[in-house]
Each structure stands twice: as C-alpha cells, then as structure tokens.
C-alpha cells in the first residue's frame, strides 16, 4: 500500500494518480479498466467492509446478461470484479468514509487503519451510487412508527443480517427492488398483501412482475397509493386510495389494509453530497453531475459513473459506464485528452417526450468518435422513432419498440456529423434528442 508522505506523527497524506470513490459495480469496473490501461497508483475508497456495494445484498439472479452473457446473482457479479482486483496492486481502502472533498481533488477520509487521511489525486472518479427515497421525502402522513423500511434497507436486513422485517407486509412502489423483495419475503413466510403503485403502469421490469408477483399471487394495485400510516409503536395498517390522472387521491376510494410492515420502493436519489462539496455542477433532472461525452464533470479531472451520475436499470450498464469513465481518466492523467476549454461545446437537450439526456454537453471534435447519448422517456410509447436533431436536421435515428420511463435507451451520434452540422463548430446550436411526433 503506497503511503507517499507521512509527517507530524499522525498525519497521513496519500497521493494517487486516480482515486475512485465507491467500491460498488461502477467503482470496481472503473478501477479494473484503469488498471488494465496501465494507470499506476489507483485507489478505491469504500465505506463498507468489503467491495461490491449494493450487489452484496441483491442475492437474486438476473445480473450480467450483457457483460458476461450469463445470469448471475448480485454477489457473484460483484465477485467477478473484486476477485480480480485482489490480483492487482490497486489500493483498496475499506471501511473508509470520505467526509469532505475539495475542488482541487483533495479528499479527507477516515478509516480504522489510518485514522484521518488527506488524499490527493490527479483524477477522481465519482462512483458513490445512490440512496433510496425515504418516507419523509414523500411526506406520507400518519403515525411515526417502526416497521417502515426502504426496500433496500429491508433487503440488507433479510439477505445479509438474516433478520426478517415483520410478518405481514405492504409494498409501496413497484420498482424492481420492491418486486424482488415481495418474492423474497414471501419465500421467507412473510405475507405480502399487495404492491401499490401510484402510476398507471408498473415501475419494474415485466419479468419481475411475472416472477415476483404473479407466481405468488401477490396483487399489484395500479393508480393507487398510501395516504396514511397507522399504528402505535409499530405499523398496524395503512390506508390506500386510488388516485386520479394528476395523482391526487380520490376521496371515497380509501381502503384499510392491516399489516405490520411497509416497504417503500419509490425511487433512488444519486448520492452527490461530496460532488456538491467539490463544487461540481449538477444537472437537476438526473440529480447527478453535469457531464460531457467523456463523463467528465464541469470540474477538470473529476469524472462520474454509475448510479451517482444517473440511476440505471441494469448493473451491466453501470459497469460499462465505469469502464468508460476510467478510459477518460486515463486520457486525462496522460494529458492526452484534448484541451476542452478551447473546444466549441454544444448542449444536449431532451426534446419531445424525453425526461433527460446524458451527456448534457458535447465538445465538438472533427473525428470519427461515436458518441452514445442515453435518455429516458417521460411517458410510455410503442413503436416510435427517436431522433437526434441539430439545426433542424436529423443526424441520427433509432426505432424503439417499447419506450418506457423505467428503461433507459440510447442513440449513437457521430462526432463528425455534429462538427459538420455546426459549420465546423462555428454555428453552435443545441443537439435535441426527441420522440418523433
């Protein structure tokens, strides 16, 4: 483990070429890719006591179809990376919490082995993942009682600590973690009374609706939400209600459901407090950093990937994004990355039907680089054409059979096309990605 400087008795200052914050799927993929590219002195800072991040508690299968062409469970997927990292000289600092960070890529972290550390990096990859929306963020009224869990916290208790959350459960939100937990709890003998979804379509993948709910006759109530939590000490029940088109509960449709456990699977929020401390510019819609095609933030040498950048549906895509961030970091460290500040830059904006795009800006280059722009839709579409427009000219198109908010899509654009259509970077217009009307 390289400790480059040590003075004043207790002061620990570590210097690395590349520091990756977070040892989940994004961070591990970035580290291995960076290592493979020949970056020396890489460190992963991980707050838990082992690598793997949230994958360690996702003991169900379905991971890795794209990256490994086989179906793995979460821990297995994580081991594919963490075992490889063991065979490298990548510095892995576990039980390490980064508590503060500065724009100049100085990080302050604490861990049991070294105490308080000052860590300096040439390049930083942000891979902190995301957290779950809590009851408070939703402001579900009612009693302030035990028995309310975010689905992921319940998942950790069941799958890692071996303790069940309760005996009779209701799940709010039909995101994939909620659906997976419906099955998991049922198999453990917990009665799952129903999944309630405020939207008029399920949030999770169809295969999870079939395998996690239908297989066990767990009802899915669409356009329904929870309007009140009851109980003294612990949850004793919830009141559900149908909602109208504006998602406002309809009076008179209330129903009482007796339960001792409420799981919330109502969305994930990128965990960007450190990013903001570093003064990195944020993109409101994703809750992640504002990035260019290299996944570089608006702060030089700081890159972001995985769920801290935007919430992904599949871990495979997180892995790929981590690898991409590592490639960019390599170019930055080698100083082979073109000086961006001198390059013309265009904005990428979501047009008709789309909620967000990523990257949010592109530096124009006259080369054959292919830029993949990811996007999510606002609503559900069938058999639509998504197109990329600049100066009212279509430069790329993609037919999408099924476009839904819970499934990320992408379209590929040629850098040279952008260059030409902006009159060699002179006539700068926004690149619009939209659903063709």
């Amino acid at each position: 483990m390289p400790i480059h400087a040590c003075w004043g008795g207790t002061r620990v200052v570590k210097e690395f070429n590349l520091v990756i914050i977070g040892g989940g799927p994004a961070g591990m993929a970035a580290a291995l890719e960076a290592y493979a590219l020949g970056i020396k002195d890489i460190a992963i800072l991980e707050r838990d006591d082992s690598l793997g991040g949230i994958l360690k508690q996702c003991i169900h299968n379905g991971f890795g179809l794209h990256v490994f062409k086989e179906e793995l469970t979460g821990p297995e997927y994580a081991l594919r990376f963490s075992e490889k990292i063991k065979d490298t000289d990548i510095t892995v600092l576990l039980n390490t919490m980064v508590i503060n960070a500065e724009k100049n890529k100085t990080l302050y972290a604490v861990n049991p082995d070294f105490g308080f550390m000052t860590i300096k990096a040439k390049a930083v990859i942000l891979a902190m993942g995301c957290r779950e929306r809590s009851r408070g963020a939703l402001r579900i009224p009612g009693a302030n009682v035990a028995g309310i869990f975010t689905a992921g916290t319940a998942q950790r208790f069941v799958n890692m600590e071996g303790i069940l959350p309760g005996t009779k459960a209701v799940i709010l939100g039909s995101g994939d973690i909620g659906l997976i937990m419906a099955r998991r709890m049922t198999l453990e003998g917990i009665k799952v009374l129903g999944v309630y979804e405020i939207m008029d379509y399920p949030g999770g993948l169809t295969r999870n609706i079939v395998q996690c709910l239908d297989d066990f006759n767990i009802p899915l109530h669409l356009s329904t939400t929870i309007v009140k939590i009851h109980g003294i000490g612990r949850v004793t029940g919830v009141t559900t209600a149908k909602v109208d088109k504006n998602m406002i509960p309809i009076k008179g449709t209330e129903e009482y459901v007796e339960c001792d456990t409420l799981l919330l699977s109502v969305g994930l929020i990128p965990e960007n407090e450190l990013t903001e401390q570093m003064g990195v510019g944020m993109y409101q819609v994703t809750g992640g950093a504002y990035v260019d095609q290299d996944l570089e933030t608006d702060t030089e040498g700081i890159f972001a990937c995985g769920n801290v950048l935007h919430v992904h549906d599949l871990v495979d895509y997180v892995t790929m994004e981590g690898q991409k961030a590592a490639r960019s970091a390599k170019a930055y460290i080698d100083e082979s990355m073109e000086q961006k500040k001198t390059k013309p830059e265009i904005k990428v904006v979501p047009g008709n039907g789309l909620r967000y795009v990523l990257p949010q800006h592109i530096y124009l280059k006259d080369n054959d680089e292919k830029i993949r722009v990811f996007f999510r839709s606002k609503a559900r579409y069938k058999d639509v054409l998504v197109r990329a427009l600049i100066n009212n000219e279509v430069i790329a198109k993609k037919k999408v059979i099924r476009l839904i908010p819970s499934e990320m899509e992408s379209v590929e654009i040629k850098a040279s096309d952008l260059y030409i259509k902006t009159d060699n970077g002179i006539n700068l217009k926004d690149l619009v990605i939209e659903v063709e009307q």
Binding site: M97, V110, F114, G233
Partner: protein
Amino acid sequence: MNYDICIIGAGVVGSLIARQLSKYKVKIAVIERNVDVSMDATGANSGIVHSGYDAKIGTKKARFNVEGCNMMPALCEDLSVKCKMIGSFVLAFDKDDEKVLQQLYDNGIKNGVTGMAIVDRDFILQKEPYVNPLVTKALYAKNAGIVSPYKLNIAAMDNAIMNGVMFLRETKVTGIEKKDGLFHIAVDVTGDICSMSKIDPIKEEDRTDITAKIIINCAGAHADEISHMAGDDSFKIIPRRGEYILFDKTEGSRINTVLFQTPTEKGKGILVTPTVDGNLMIGPDATLAQDKDDKCTNSDNLDYVYKTATQSYTGLNMKKSITVFAGIRATPSTSDFIIEESSKCKNFINVAGIESPGLTASPAIAVYVEGIVRSLMEMKEKAKDEYTMTVKHDKPFSEMTNEEKEKACSSDELCRKIICRCETVSEKEIVAAIYSPCGARTVDGVKKRTRAGMGRCQGGFCSPHVMRILSEHTGIPVNRIAKANANSCMLGRYSRG
C-alpha cells in the same frame, strides 16, 4: 423505594426541575412512562427561544417566558447544548398586520422584553432575502433564538443523574395514595427495554413500593390525569396537535432568523426557522387531537402548513423535505401555566399546561419550582464538590476542524468508524450516547443524541449499524432493538433461527 421527591414526567420541564433540585441532599426519582426523555411534547417542539412579547401581561406565561429567555443562553452553555440567539421577525403584510405589530411591541415593553424594534422592508429583505417581498414591516426581536429542545432535555437529565437523581424509565404512574402525609405511588412497567439492557441501573426495588414526600406533576398532556389521582380536578389539559415539515440542511443555509407570521384571530400562523443543526423547519399548525397520544400527521394539515409557510417565505423546496412529524401541546383549560402547590393536596405540586412558550420558560420554571419545594421541605445543599451544574460533551465529529478530526482519530479508534454518512457521526459518539448518564437505548434515542439517522437518508444506510452497536453494548438482541418504546421493535424474527 422511599424517595423525598418524585417528579412525574421527564420532558424538558420535569428534567430541568430534577436538575435544579439535584444540588440538594434529597432523594429524587423521575418517573417516566416512556423509555427515554423528550418523547412527547418536548420531542416535537419548534425549538424557539421566544423573546416574550406576545404573552399577556401579568400571566405566568409572560413572566417565565421573559425570565427563561434571559436564562437560556447561559444554561445551554452550562449543559453544552447549542443555543443560537439569532433573533426573530414577526412579518406584516398589510396595515392590519402592522397594527398588530405595534400591539405586540407595546405588550413586549410591558413584559420587560428588550431589544425589540419595528423595522422596515429593506431591513428584513437584507437579512432574509427569501422572505416574501410583499412584506411591509416586521417586529424584530434581537433577544430571540433557537435551541434543540430534546438536546436540552437530555442534557438536563444527564446532569440530574450525575447528581444522583434516579431516572425510572418505562414506568407509568397508575395511582397516587396519601397515607400519613406520605404519597404512595402505584406504577406499571410499560416495557422491557430496560430490563433487557445489561447496562441499566434501574433495579426492581427502585420501582416497587414507591413513596414520596413531595410529588411534582410534570406529566405534560396527561398532567390532569395525574392531578386527578391526587384528588385535584381543578384543570383539564386539552391536547392540541401541531405538525411540522423538516427540510435538508441544504435549505437551512438560506435562512438566518426565526420568521413568524402576524397572529390573527384565526391563529398564530406558521413559523419558518432554521434549526440549531442547520436544517430548515416549518410548522406548527394547531388542531384539536382526539387522543392525547395521537401524534399522527395528516395530509390536509401538512398541506396547510406548507401553503401557509409559503405566504411568508419563498425559499421552500418541497423536494428537499426529509421528514414530517407532529407533537401534542398540553393546553391548559385555565389558559395560563399552572405552577403551584395544589390547593386540594398538600405537597403535590402541579407544573401543568406548559404549552408555548414552555420551552423558553422551562429554565425559569425550574428555579421557581425549586422555591416552592424549599418552602415545603427543608433541604440542605450538597457540598460544592458533591454535585455539578455543568455537563461537558465532546465536540461532535461533524463540527470539528480537519486538525481536530485528525487528532481525535489518532487517539481513538472508534472515531475512525463513521456510521452515519449524512451527518458524519462516528461510532465513538454513538457508544458515548449509550453510556451517557441518561443513555440511549433505542434507535431514536441514538438519533436525538448523535444525529445518526437524522439526515437526508433518514437512517436508510446507518440504521443496521446503529442497531448492531446498540445491541453490542446493551446486550439487547438486534431483533429486539426498538425505534422508540418497547412496542416499536424495528425488526421481526431471525430467518434462520
């Protein structure tokens, strides 16, 4: 067990009284039905140190408010509790409001409030850029501030216990009988957290055959029921619920002052305030509660709180709300604080109906009650080295400078384990909270003392770790660790036996 004084209720009032009396050579017990202090009205309080201009002149409320406000900063200093005298505005938006401001100002002068001024729009907006720009004038009170009500409560009880006060948690008074001038207090044990905990000092004999020479009734919303047990039905407590919305720390940095709305016949309006820990909070409304323990929030009320708050403050971002909660105020039927020996029952002191500005008044109430007790019973003060009136706390890790963090980490391994990401709380602080005189036994207890779980993820990440630490140190099995009282177990059974 025979005690000289039994205080019923460990809210901020009961705890400060216990502390005040703990300097005397008397045997004191505080009887609390909950597992911790600060679990009712004190725990869900606005945390405002009111300057004292609105209570009616001549009332106990007015007197103790002004006295308490003046005492609060020094008391908080003694107890290592954060108190920030940041000042308050009462905002006026039209001529009618302005008239009320003048009345409040005049009333404040009569009550002896200092540091007040009626200020104009520019002054307000310069200090508070997010106040609704339609504001016309405000009553500025320099001598107002914020304090953490539960931190004050906990520190007061810590101090009392350090001086030998017995804290009987999970103990509910069910009857009071007076025989030969001595009170016999019947109690029920309400939970098993203390009996499961291997570090709890409560022994069974401490809460069997309880007798007391003096009872001080600080039972909050239930004070009328306790008073009834002693044969005094001279007042009733009307439970009035108040609901709050708490916002992320990112929002707290944009507000510097406590913002009140001008009171009208309809009510006192909704306040917008920073908290001592840097969050932003809005609330409370006032609705009649059917049940004294019904601390449920309601969507209509929360909507009202939000909409009313936006009338005076434009900086609210609902996406940044992190929790909602409700508290029950103990409104007395007499409309003023009841702080006196009962006329029906000698040596039975009611400290009841302590609604707003009760938190501000509590330091002054404690001193006043000390006087009542001294008039009833001869008490000798302990020698100076036998008691303390100060509590020292290590600085929270999150508030340390980098140099201090470095030093703390080098000397203590537990500092190096950060348990709560959002609030940067180390394992050392959690362990200290468990072993403090009035130690935490529950997840909420740890949260109030250390802020672990108080942040934006609301314990999503740290609660498994907090539960493990609680279990390791108290000996309570992880799956029996409670959120609040014993009936609020966080988890169910082990899945594999």
